[in-house]
């Protein structure tokens, strides 16, 4: 755990210094994508890696956060900070409702019903033209006030630091979560639900609390996305974000803190590198998922987690 923490701190330091060296709009854009993806992957990892349930409709929270921010900015003229907080709150509230319904189910049922939720939201966003402007989406979401009037490059750098701060907040929250009683209880539920119950842990409650935290994180990522791209359409609920989240968390290593940081870096860079190949790129992603599941189920950071377990065992 100490090793993981130190790695994360080192990565954070490198990320802080990166813009000083990489004075380039395109590279900063990639940096923003990476920090955005780290928020999403960290959020997804809390459920997949610690509670051990697989919410295939996790994009619901991303979408709710994005739409909350978009509506807050365009309809009510709220500033960025207010939108960010509102997006977290709305997503968390929806996470509570969705979790209360779906966490009574397990395994495949949980997976499919969460997906149904996201799909219903996508259809609503597509059809409720009065609120969401339907398939046209909401365009022209303003940039945060402190970035107004800066050059394009400085805006990107600003967004990068903003995103880095938010991503660091997510990762720190995840770190605290894992080292809390809540996180340990979640792991015990994941490892053996019945033993956990026998020592007085209520799996539903643990799952629900984690779900709400993860939802708030994804909502925050959504608000950040809305203000960065300045456009939100129904596709934020779509499966393509879900696919990226799955690949990032899997490849990085689920159930580790470093995994959801390594994964996004690799996947975003790979995505940019393979951009020329279009659909072939996605075919390759499919093969990567299959290969990771078959040959590297622990992900890249898996050995770190195992090292931690050995260290823990040695102490005990």
């Amino acid at each position: 755990m100490v090793l993981q923490r130190n790695l994360l701190l080192a990565a954070f330091a490198v990320a802080l210094l990166a813009p000083l060296v990489l004075r380039d709009e395109y590279l900063m854009h990639i940096g923003v994508l990476v920090v955005f993806s780290i928020m999403l992957a960290t959020s997804f990892n809390l459920m997949v890696g610690y509670v051990g349930e697989f919410p295939l409709g996790h994009t619901a929270f991303l979408g709710i956060g994005a739409y909350t921010a978009a509506l807050g900015a365009s309809t009510f003229g709220l500033p960025f900070a207010a939108n960010l907080v509102l997006a977290c709150l709305f997503s968390a509230a929806f996470g509570f409702v969705m979790g209360a319904v779906t966490l009574r189910l397990r395994g495949p049922f949980f997976v499919i019903i969460t997906l149904c939720f996201a799909e219903v939201l996508r259809i609503v966003a597509n059809n409720w033209v009065g609120l969401t402007n339907g398939p046209m989406g909401i365009a022209g979401i303003p940039k945060p006030a402190f970035l107004a009037g800066l050059s394009m490059l400085d805006q990107k750098v600003g967004f990068y630091y903003l995103g880095l701060g938010l991503a660091a907040l997510c990762v720190y929250a995840a770190y605290r979560y894992v080292n809390s009683n809540l996180g340990r209880a979640a792991v015990s539920v994941r490892e053996n639900r019945f033993v956990a119950q026998s020592v007085g842990i209520w799996p539903f409650y643990i799952g629900l609390l984690t779900f709400v935290i993860a939802a708030a994180m994804a909502g925050m990522a959504g608000a950040f996305y809305a203000h960065y791209v300045s456009f939100v359409g129904p596709e934020v609920f779509g499966f393509s974000f879900m696919i990226s989240m799955i690949i990032m968390v899997l490849l990085g290593g689920k159930g580790t803190l470093v995994g959801p940081v390594i994964g996004p870096v690799i996947v975003v860079l790979l995505e940019e590198y393979l951009r020329d190949f279009k659909e072939l790129r996605l075919s390759l992603f499919g093969l990567i998922v299959i290969a990771v599941v078959l040959f590297m189920p622990q992900g890249l950071a898996g050995p770190l987690a195992r090292r931690r377990e050995r260290a823990g065992a040695a102490k005990a």
Binding site: I112, I113, L115, N126, E279, G286, V289, P297
Partner: protein, 290 residues
Amino acid sequence: MDLFLQLLANGLVNGTFYALSALGLTLVFGLMRVVNFAHGEFYVIGGLAGWALTNAVGLHFFLALPIVILGMGVFGLLIDRFLIERVRDQGPETGILLTIGLSIFIVNTALLVVGTAPLKVVSPFLNRPIFIGPVVVTQARLFTVALCAVLILAVHLLVQRTTLGRAMRATFQDATAARLVGIRTRHVYGLTFALGSALAGTAGMLLGSIYVAQATIGGIVSLKAFVVVILGGMGSFAGAIVGGLVLGLVEAIWGGYGPSGYVDAVGFALVIVMLLVRPYGLFSKQVERA
């Protein structure tokens, strides 16, 4: 009243089609407990192969159908041997991820090969309308409904009445015990998955002659098939039929009287409510086990 009857008829026809497209999943997910997210993509492959054989090669529909069935069966067997078998005993999550990877791969490869255009399987039946009282159904649909019924019945009999079917049920109840009494479970797993894929492919080809075959529809087909299987209760054929019919009817009636943009959402809302009220489906005898 005439409108209602017509909607009822449409709902029943669509419902039968839903039941057919979920039939393979009833075997693979309901009995074999593999959460196959690539089911819709198998359906798409069946449809595209049907299009290629009837349209590009120019074979007759009934000559192409057995080729598709056989081809999809072999394909399913290979998938089971090389992919599913490796994650057999690792819980549902691994299987979910594996099949999601497979589905991403198939969708995008299909897009590379045929593009996004909707393609039609050449059908031997005319789209001539048949009037039954105030209700209109096309000839092709009526024939496909009949074929669906035959297929569903055949699979039901296969699972309930044959030695292979008994071996299947034994294997999925307790694989170790099944091996002890001499069932070659490896073959049973392979054959069941092959049968599931063949059924998905058949559904894709049959429905590709009524609607269209398209590379990108796999996701929605998968999700609706899961809805049907869960609505009906895991592994129950009667349940799958009822689940399909319920979904078809509710969608048709909603589409006739309600805002039509939300038609697809109705099924999902239905299954969410269903799982709140009866978590194990309408017809399932399944109870929670420790």
